[in-house]
């Protein structure tokens, strides 16, 4: 019944392979190095947390991993595909096929119903309407919101909205789920709810990269990377749980 999230991926090859990754922002004449040479490999089924103080480069890393931005130098191979120098169209396609995003601000479209929001990535994947609806309802069922499919985001609690966003991230069966501070806008009960859901997904074999500044949130991951000033401290090694 549950779709295999890492379908068609070699379980022994890394899903994510960053090599000497650098990102330099140019603001006017001022150059700012947000990522200063990061090497990192994430394997299928891993649950990784990236922690670090504010301004350390976590979101920059997340944007790179999510194909929302490209590296200044270095390389990024995602599910066997080198995305380091892809153009906008190819990046859009890579995001659509490989990545499921969960944002701090949920980013649901208020004009669409819950199921309409979950369907969106499938629209851009060119999936036929009937199959789209079916898969979106299945994803909502997975996050326990089948009964809220016709509700608009405004009629849902924060925790429910984030669960709709998780359903949207899962519906394309992506190579990785990227969650940037997914509990930052939630009360403690909803936080536990959403983190429990990520645990469940991990249990079902999903690859999850969770970005957070909260230690107890990071504690649920298998591997924790500490980012400071655009670098992994401790030579980029994961801290085994």
């Amino acid at each position: 019944m549950t779709p295999t999230i890492t379908a068609a991926l070699d379980p022994d090859a890394p899903v994510i392979e960053l090599t000497a990754a650098r990102k330099t922002y140019l603001t006017g004449d001022i150059e700012f190095e947000a990522l200063r040479g990061i090497d990192c490999q994430i394997y299928p089924g891993e649950y990784v947390a990236i922690v670090g103080p504010s301004g350390s480069g976590k979101s920059t890393l997340m944007n790179i991993l999510g194909c929302l931005d490209v590296l200044t130098s270095g390389s990024y191979v995602l599910a066997g595909e080198d995305v380091s120098h892809m153009n906008e169209d190819a990046l859009a396609s890579a995001r659509n096929r490989r990545i499921g995003f969960v944002f701090q601000q949920f980013h649901l479209l208020p004009s669409l119903t819950a199921v309409g929001n979950v369907e969106l990535p499938l629209v851009y994947a060119g999936v036929a309407p009937g199959e789209r609806r079916e898969r979106a309802l299945a994803a909502l069922d997975r996050v326990g919101l089948a009964d809220k499919a016709r509700n608009h985001p405004g009629q849902l609690s924060g925790g429910q909205q984030q669960r709709v966003a998780i359903a949207r991230a899962l519906v394309t069966e992506p190579a990785i789920v990227l969650a940037d501070e997914p509990t930052g806008n939630l009360d403690s009960r909803s936080t536990a709810d959403v983190l429990g859901m990520l645990d469940d997904l991990h249990g079902e074999g999903a690859t999850i990269v969770l970005i957070t500044h909260e230690g107890d949130v990071a504690a649920r991951a298998q591997t924790v990377y500490n980012v400071t000033d655009g670098q992994f401290v401790g030579e980029g090694m994961g801290i085994a749980k």
Binding site: L68, R95, Y124, T172
Partner: protein, 392 residues
């Protein structure tokens, strides 16, 4: 609500396009009705050659080349099938007397077909009849101006006038027709051709006529009728070359030209107004779409993050701009048609609503939405997803 305000430009623009085209077509119809009433389906055959520069035309001698038998021949359905009426005119300037007053006018001898050929109607009484024509009866039809000059009134049917000592009974008075050039069409007296020939004509050439009018079946066959008449007359006059023709066939071109140029100027003016309104409307669409792109930056960022390619985002905004154009166009058509129905009773001008014009208007509105949506849509498509997502 705000998009309704934005659409106002397109609404006004399309409404004025509908009105412009309607007014243009209406004016065209008015003009052609007017031309028809003045006789744009009318050929005027005069004696003398148009290539003859000797100044003989209209005088004696060679200018008396049109005859009553020419007119009879032209009236034949076989020789000139595109003609529906022929009326020859034999005229003389004569003095009409009634009691103490007298008035000199052009007395015209013609046939009963004259009213139809010259597009004239009667105000009082009737035109003379075939019987009057064959018996050369002493009956006369007066123009309204002539009647007024002689009698001080136009209700003069049954009265008598005297010309050269002969008494004529007034059987009808013509309705007013205005003037053609500087000759009044209302200062005129009309008698049967035979009466003219037997009683009034003193030119010494009873056969000759001044003018033969030929009415064509429609303005479309005017030149065909002109050709047929020319061939027949050349034949009757034993002339082999058109260059040697001893007659001239004219069309009332000048009238058509004048009327058409008025119509063309009006069209240019109205088209300018419509184009300006549509330009304003288009800029309105561009403006609201730019505002919409700015307001929906986060939505655009999210859609891109979920895998929408730049072209997909561009098309989404293009379609929205076209829908704006379509809605504005549809409202504009409704308002335009409403005005087109209401205005004629106020302005007294004719407005023709054409289905084609309405369809073209809506297509134009959608096209304007598309054209002015291109820039905002390109802006949306170019937004970087991270900047778009970060936007608060």
């Amino acid at each position: 609500m705000r998009s309704l305000l934005t659409m106002l430009g397109i609404v006004v623009g399309i409404a004025s396009v509908v009105l412009t085209v309607g007014l243009g077509l209406g004016t065209q119809k008015d003009v052609s009705d007017q031309i028809a009433s003045l006789g744009s389906d009318l050929l005027i055959v005069s004696p003398g050659s148009s290539t003859d520069d000797s100044g003989m035309r209209g005088g004696f001698g060679s200018a008396e080349t049109l005859t009553l038998s020419d007119a009879d021949a032209l009236a034949s359905d076989v020789a000139v099938p595109d003609a529906v009426g022929v009326a020859a005119e034999k005229t003389a300037d004569l003095s009409l007397e009634y009691g103490e007053s007298n008035w000199t006018t052009t007395v015209t001898g013609t046939s009963t077909s004259w009213t139809d050929v010259r597009s004239r109607e009667l105000m009082y009484g009737d035109f003379f009849t075939e019987d009057d024509e064959s018996s050369a009866a002493h009956v006369i039809v007066l123009g309204s101006e002539t009647a007024t000059e002689l009698f001080g009134s136009t209700a003069v049917v049954g009265q008598d006038v005297t010309i050269d000592g002969d008494t004529f009974e007034i059987v009808g008075v013509l309705a007013e027709a205005g003037s053609s050039g500087d000759t009044s069409l209302d200062d005129i007296a009309v008698v049967p051709m035979n009466t003219m020939v037997e009683t009034l004509d003193d030119s010494g050439n009873s056969e000759s006529v001044q003018t033969i009018y030929i009415k064509a079946a429609s303005s479309d066959v005017l030149s065909a009728a002109s050709q047929e008449a020319q061939t027949l007359l050349l034949n009757m006059h034993g002339i082999s070359s058109v260059d040697d023709a001893d007659f001239t066939i004219d069309v009332q071109d000048s009238l058509i030209d004048a009327a058409t140029s008025v119509y063309e100027q009006l069209t240019i003016l109205l088209t300018g107004i419509a184009a300006l309104a549509l330009l304003v409307g288009g800029i309105g669409v561009m403006n609201i779409m730019l505002v919409s792109v700015t307001e929906r930056t986060r939505e655009i960022g999210l859609r891109k993050a979920l895998g929408a390619a730049p072209a997909t985002i561009r098309n989404q905004f293009l379609i929205e701009a076209m829908i704006l154009g379509l809605s504005g166009g549809a409202i504009g058509v409704i308002i335009g048609v409403g005005l087109a129905l209401a205005l004629p009773s106020v302005l007294g001008s004719t407005i023709v609503i054409s289905g084609l014009a309405l369809i073209v208007s809506v297509v134009v509105a959608v096209g304007i939405g598309a054209v002015f949506g291109v820039y905002p849509a390109a802006r949306a498509a170019k937004l970087a997803p991270i900047d778009a997502l970060r936007d608060q």
